[in-house]
């Protein structure tokens, strides 16, 4: 008899979203690292390095950098939450959902703290 397995669909909730974002940000980060390293390694002379740096110091790249900071801080803070769940029982039935939000708020605050000096850089 031919059974049939449609693709799985499920209602979103905080933990699910948190994991998905963690995946995506992790992937972005490693891809960025590859790119970043490759770029820098190809700039072995002072002149090429400085001209490249001038480009990446344009406001557009500064904005992208703030985005990078968001990605980093999200991944880092959520990663710490995962460690808390794994080792310190941070996923009781009563709090597992709240915890995700708490860590999201922490991530948002840290993001703003870091983004302010970076945003200042936009106006120099």
């Amino acid at each position: 008899m031919a059974y049939y397995r449609p693709p799985a669909k499920y209602r979103w909730h905080a933990g699910f979203v948190a994991w998905l974002l963690h995946r995506i940000t992790g992937l972005l980060l490693i891809l960025y690292l590859f790119l970043h390293e490759w770029l820098i390694s190809s700039l072995q002379s002072k002149s090429s390095f400085d001209s490249a740096m001038a480009v990446v110091s344009s406001p557009l790249f500064k904005l992208l950098e703030i985005g990078l900071w968001a990605v980093v801080i999200y991944h880092a803070v959520n990663g710490i939450r995962v460690v808390f769940v794994n080792f310190f029982h941070a996923a009781e039935r009563s709090n597992y959902n709240i915890n995700v939000w708490v860590f999201w708020i922490i991530a948002a605050i840290l993001f703003v703290i870091g983004a302010i000096p970076m945003a200042k850089g936009l106006f120099y």
Partner: protein
């Protein structure tokens, strides 16, 4: 039924590749990376907003062995952690043993390549070309 299950059990036995170390190290390296990445961002982006990280600035910093070690550790941990993360992906979504093997090998290769690249990039920075002010 019993034999079918026996075959099933064998899938979970004796593979030798348990994933325990990877899992554990993913957490450890994550926590270490937290320190390193905040440090990295601080030095590159917050410390002196508005300044462009010219070759000289970077090279000046990297002249000290401490910073060299810092950047190297950062790259090594990030590479390890990130590629480990990619292995997680592979285990989740790639189901044929052949593809799994191929992709793992590929990313081992990529990882080592980038490690060498990182060494070649960071180590030469120690000799500022044309002096710090040049």
């Amino acid at each position: 039924m019993a034999t079918a299950i026996r075959g099933f059990i064998d899938r979970y036995n004796g593979s030798g590749k348990t994933g325990a170390f990877n899992w554990f190290f993913q957490r450890i390296s994550g926590v270490i990376l937290l320190v390193l990445i905040v440090g990295h961002f601080y030095i590159e982006h917050f410390y002196a907003p508005g300044t462009i990280p010219t070759y000289n600035v970077v090279a000046g910093r990297l002249a000290s062995l401490g910073w060299k070690l810092f950047d190297l550790t950062f790259v090594i941990f990030a590479l390890w952690h990130g590629i480990n993360g990619i292995f997680e992906f592979i285990d989740d979504y790639v189901h044929s043993n052949g593809w799994r093997l191929f992709l793992r090998a590929l990313f081992w290769f990529v990882g080592i390549l980038y490690l060498v690249l990182a060494l070649l990039t960071i180590l030469p920075f120690s000799v500022p070309q044309g002096g710090i002010n040049g």
